[in-house]
Amino acid sequence: MKNMIKGAIAGAAMLAASMAQADDDVTLQLKWVTQAQFAGYYVALDKGFYKEEGLNVTIKPGGPDIAPAQVIAGGGADVVLDWMPSALASREKGLDLVNIAQPFKSSGMMLTCRKDAGITTSADFADKTLGVWFFGNEYPFLSWMSKLGLKTDGSAGGVTVLKQGFNVDPILQKQAACVSTMTYNEYWQIIDAGLTPEELVVFKYEDEGVSTLEDGMYVLGDNLKDAAFKDKMVRFVRASMKGWKYAEMHTDEAADIVLENDASGAQTEKHQRRMMSEVAKLTSGSNGALDVADYERTVQSLLQAGSDPVITKAPEGAWTSEITDAALN
């Protein structure tokens, strides 16, 4: 009898404990490996911002063979980070991805070229070899080239495109005149490899007027019909943006938090701190809400991609301000 009472008490205590901890689970799929590009989410996790909102967040790192859209389609995540061109292309394929928040205001994508390959302006691209990332990251490049009127099939007068691996070797070895870089990552790999900024010409997609929105938060449209899910997302976006703003203010601390969370141990402090200060420049213009003008520009640039447009018609319902309106009040 005594044991039974003890057991009942213990059971009740466990039940109470589990009820107190009944945080809502949210799984976030990153677009790439753990690095300062995602600092806001790691800061929110580490500083307990998610906890304060009653969320139990799991962050899944991505990698070269992980397409966030496929992960969310297979039910592997509640929220994914993706670039808008690839998200809109997935939408046309029938996957109902909806942008709920856009922490990155500016694009960090660039084409970095060697001066000694004879490139000073974008008019010099013709008949050169350019390195591009594929796997859904090629859309901004394709729409830029089509705006410049350059063919990408390797024919004379056009450009030859290389599928560049996830490093900058082609430009170091002069196999390509230009390679794709991000302001916060690959550009610095080129500098670290020994080329000086004076030897390079940089074309920022932002400056060329062909920038597209990067690193937005996307969820499945079906889930948004569920009030409980919506409420979870409101809290998630609020805490994530708190994390981002904290990371912008304390870049070194944010970079260190990212390093602590890097299970692969592949990142270095110098690289992450530098990356964090570059990423802060891209996120500082956003409070999390999607700027409709930026969205329209992205869509226009994708629609105009010449004979082979990334999307064939202007998408409808590809974003909602519902979540950010509720989260940021």
């Binding site: 496929q70 389609a73 292309a89 394929k93 796997f135 691996g165």
Partner: protein
């Protein structure tokens, strides 16, 4: 729901038909029909289950969608096939297998090389392909040459081991006979050593057909021009065009089977005397 029932009925019907055919008097036509029918029933089941359970084509497209995509993208598939199979896999296969064959003869000739070269061959075979591919891309450039180099590394060792084993397949009595004829080394190699080794050599050649194709496709994941089966597969997965991915997989399966079949046919013609070929 209807789709599920159709799929099940189709599956059971073709199974029953297959059992009937298999139990009737055997003929050449029937021996082809049975596996074909089995394959079709699997495709029918796939189609029915995907439609019945409403599975998103992003996860698994139905065979009809893959077939439509295959038919509408023939020029692209052909371009990829030439780039990956003809340029990458075939040239690598020829270079790798010939190099291994010549090395095996050298090894057979000298015990010194046998003790030195075999461990090195073993070492090369143990190199992980995903570690070697990026390095070879750096050395040989982005085009098919680097893919052929990966294939050479992949096929070299299996071919070498098989040929070495084949060259030692002749026995002492046969060797003695050649000696009593007064045959020199090359005569003895041509008339006795190589014919005796043929079943082993073809074993190696057949194993290497599939390895060559796998090597050429995987090597394209690490940097490539914008054509090729591996490039297309990795790019289209990112674009969620899984129907195109499956179309490429179909091409790879057909090419791999045809390549293997060709080797098996040549083997049949060359080693007609071997007990395994006489039926």
């Amino acid at each position: 729901m209807n789709w599920l029932i159709y799929a099940l009925i189709f599956w059971l019907a073709s199974w029953a038909l297959n059992v009937r055919i298999a139990n009737s008097a055997p003929s050449r036509f029937k021996s082809i029909l049975v596996p074909m029918l089995f394959g079709f029933s699997l495709l029918g089941l796939w189609e029915g289950l995907v439609s019945g359970f409403n599975i998103s084509p992003i996860l698994l497209p139905p065979p009809s969608m893959i077939a439509a995509r295959f038919a509408s993208s023939l020029p692209i598939l052909w371009e990829d096939f030439v780039q990956t199979f003809v340029k990458g896999a075939l040239s690598g296969y020829f270079i790798g297998c010939s190099a291994a064959f010549l090395t095996a003869i050298a090894i057979d000739r000298s015990d010194f090389l046998k003790r030195g070269l075999l461990p090195i061959g073993n070492f090369v075979a143990a190199l992980p392909i995903i570690g070697m591919a990026p390095v070879l891309v750096m050395w040989f450039g982005f085009d098919w040459q680097s893919k052929a180099a990966v294939v050479v590394i992949m096929v070299f060792f299996p071919m070498l081991v098989n040929t070495v084993a084949g060259l030692s397949a002749k026995n002492e009595i046969q060797n003695d006979l050649m000696k009593t004829y007064g045959a020199g080394y090359w005569q003895s190699l041509l008339k006795l050593g190589l014919p005796a080794a043929m079943p082993f050599i073809f074993n190696g050649l057949k194993i290497c057909t599939t390895l060559a194709l796998i090597g050429a496709i995987v090597a394209e994941f690490f940097g490539s021009p914008i054509r090729g089966m591996g490039f297309r597969i990795s790019t289209e997965v990112g674009r969620l065009s899984l129907d195109m991915v499956w179309a490429e997989i179909t091409v790879a399966a057909l090419a791999g089977s045809a390549f293997y079949g060709t080797m098996a046919l040549i083997e049949k013609a060359v080693t007609f005397w071997h007990p395994s070929q006489r039926s």
